[in-house]
């Protein structure tokens, strides 16, 4: 195996193994075993636990467990993302509770309001998660982080409390479902269209309890921002984790973190539960229609549907590359009359970069609204929610009834290309035709 970064000793020495998938390799390492099999229950040592405001809810069981101290403050990252800045006094108080807890527990990597980001993006861009890591996050879209070659799974409040107390989590070793993607995508079509196609084809629970691994030349050619999109929405397939082999693209992305790692990929003779092969050659933009992420249509089938709102945001599609797409289409154009187009970057780092590149000015000239980073609109929490019967096209990940506000609002999920083209025309628009 080639060693990355100057040939120094790897942080996670690999054990000799054959016939294992990536997820099995990480769980074997985390449970100090030579190898593990699907179905086996293991106790895994957690390399990184990250939390957002769910920490406040997890403090109730954490205090009931009664260890007083977290197992290792150096392995914990906390940020505020769901309600930033706090929209109510109760939530401001919740943030205070979290702030106090991090200070008292010596959690140095607490990213307060001002230094915040949607937690998955913050973890990725700051290089906090690495190949071979067992990463546990207090949010369902933790799957996104698996794009760096980590086993990254989401959990709820009580499990979060348990990890804080023990540094371990029980996990059932998942079967791995392989999604092999080949072909060159059509114009103005990207990873979001691919993952919508995968979910629409396999169903919104096709990967329940399973690990999903993306392979194939299309995936190899994707930059990290696109790989994050694929893994992010494995949550909408029901997957425990989404993973992509760590290669030179991963290495370059993580170079700034100074972390050295061994590459990780599934063995050639590993056992997969199932392999789905997708030929995306020439494929165009896809849209998930109300009110299920698997309710798929090609954009031409829904083109012309009038919209009230377009939203570009969330952990799924609000990275700098997504904002550049929006600016490219908006330059010299106007958001359609009567439509509100909101752009909410996934982190403060992206916000700053957008300013530096002059993107914010383009957004404002076009009549779009540019806000501070938050999860707010995606989960119907605050800072842009939908009224009854409003129709929204969104770069986010879910469209169940009531997800973004009123239960009667209609949400279409699409790529940054399709969302922006639709904002300009006031109706769902094929971005290849603008």
């Amino acid at each position: 195996m080639a060693m990355f970064i100057g040939g120094a000793a790897p942080v996670h020495p690999p054990v000799p193994m054959t016939g294992q998938t990536m997820s099995e390799k990480v769980l074997a390492r985390a449970s100090h075993a030579e190898s593990v099999r699907p179905g086996q229950i293991i106790d895994g040592d957690v390399d990184l636990l990250y939390m957002h405001e769910m920490l406040a809810l997890a403090l109730l069981p954490f205090n009931e467990i009664g260890t007083m101290k977290v197992w290792d403050p150096e392995k914990i990252v906390v940020t505020l993302d769901h309600w930033v800045p706090p929209p109510t006094p109760e939530i401001a108080k919740m943030h205070q509770t979290i702030r106090d807890f991090c200070r008292k527990q010596g959690i140095r990597r607490f990213h307060d309001v001002g230094d915040h980001g949607i937690v998955h993006q913050l973890i990725a861009e700051r290089g906090y998660a690495h190949p071979w890591d067992l990463v546990i996050g207090s949010d369902s879209h933790t799957n996104m982080v698996g794009a760096v070659g980590a086993f990254a799974a989401g959990i709820g409040a009580t499990d979060t409390a348990a990890v804080m107390a023990k540094g371990q989590l029980w996990l059932r070793v998942p079967e791995t479902m392989r999604v092999d993607i080949h072909g060159t995508l059509g114009e103005r079509t990207g990873a979001k269209d691919v993952i919508l196609k995968v979910i629409g084809t396999t169903g919104d629970d096709a990967a329940r309890y399973a690990a999903v691994e993306f392979t194939g030349p299309t995936v190899d050619a994707f930059p990290m921002n696109e790989r994050f999109v694929l893994c992010n929405m494995t949550t909408e397939m029901g997957a425990k984790v989404g993973m992509i082999a760590a290669d030179d693209v991963t290495k370059e992305y993580l170079a700034h973190s100074g972390h050295e790692f061994e590459p990780i990929r599934s063995d050639d003779d590993a056992t997969f539960l199932r392999t789905f092969a997708f030929d995306v050659d020439g494929m165009g933009p896809q849209v998930a229609c109300p009110s299920n992420p698997a309710n798929l249509k090609p954009v031409e089938d829904v083109a012309g549907t009038k919209i009230d709102v377009a939203f570009l945001g969330s952990c799924t599609n609000a990275r700098i590359e997504d904002l550049r797409i929006a600016a490219e289409l908006l330059r010299g154009e106007r958001v359609a009359p009567g439509v509100r187009f909101q752009i909410t970057p996934a982190s403060q780092i992206i916000y700053r970069q957008a300013l530096k590149e002059g993107l914010v000015e383009v957004f404002m000239d076009a009549g779009a609204t540019f806000t501070s980073s938050t999860c707010g609109p995606c989960f119907g929490g605050h800072l842009g929610t939908l009224a009854g019967d409003e129709v929204c096209i969104s770069s986010t990940n879910r469209n169940y009834p009531g997800r973004m506000g009123s239960p009667t609002a209609q949400v279409y999920l699409a790529s940054p290309w399709t969302v922006t083209a639709s904002a300009i025309h006031g109706e769902i628009t094929d971005p290849r035709k603008v």
Partner: protein
Amino acid sequence: MQTRYQGRAWIFGDDISTDHIIAGKYLGTTDSRVFAEHAFEAVDPTWAKNVRPGDLIVAGANFGCGSSREQAPVALKTLGISAILANSFARIFFRNAINLGFPVVECAGLRDRVKSGDVVALDLAGGEVRIPSGETFKFTPLPPNVLEILEAGGLVPKLRKELGTKSMS
């Protein structure tokens, strides 16, 4: 540990998400009564008022899909729902419920054989569900480690015993 439950069934379909169970706008608190009060509001605003302690939920596939919000099982447990029987569960919802000591059982085919209001009897130890027609459904028993958590009354009491700690709250 209680292993037998009997109560009125509330019937739900497939892909019931955590957004259906408790909307995002109610999550800005740690007060479980708020979650309970607004449970399933998007589906039926009167639902939470009509639930009686001891009632059960019988649902289709992928129950609890979506977010990791533990407020979803907390809301249902706080209302007194005694157990959830579904064709299948989304993984985080399943873990969250078990961690709260809230019985969730995968019982394939049950949903199509019961209607709203039917009295359903669950025998957790025996691995069986009985419906008014007298028909019984066998389900796969929970894995031993999951059963251990349920038997302890949830993950917190289990960990307290394991670690020899005392509650600080």
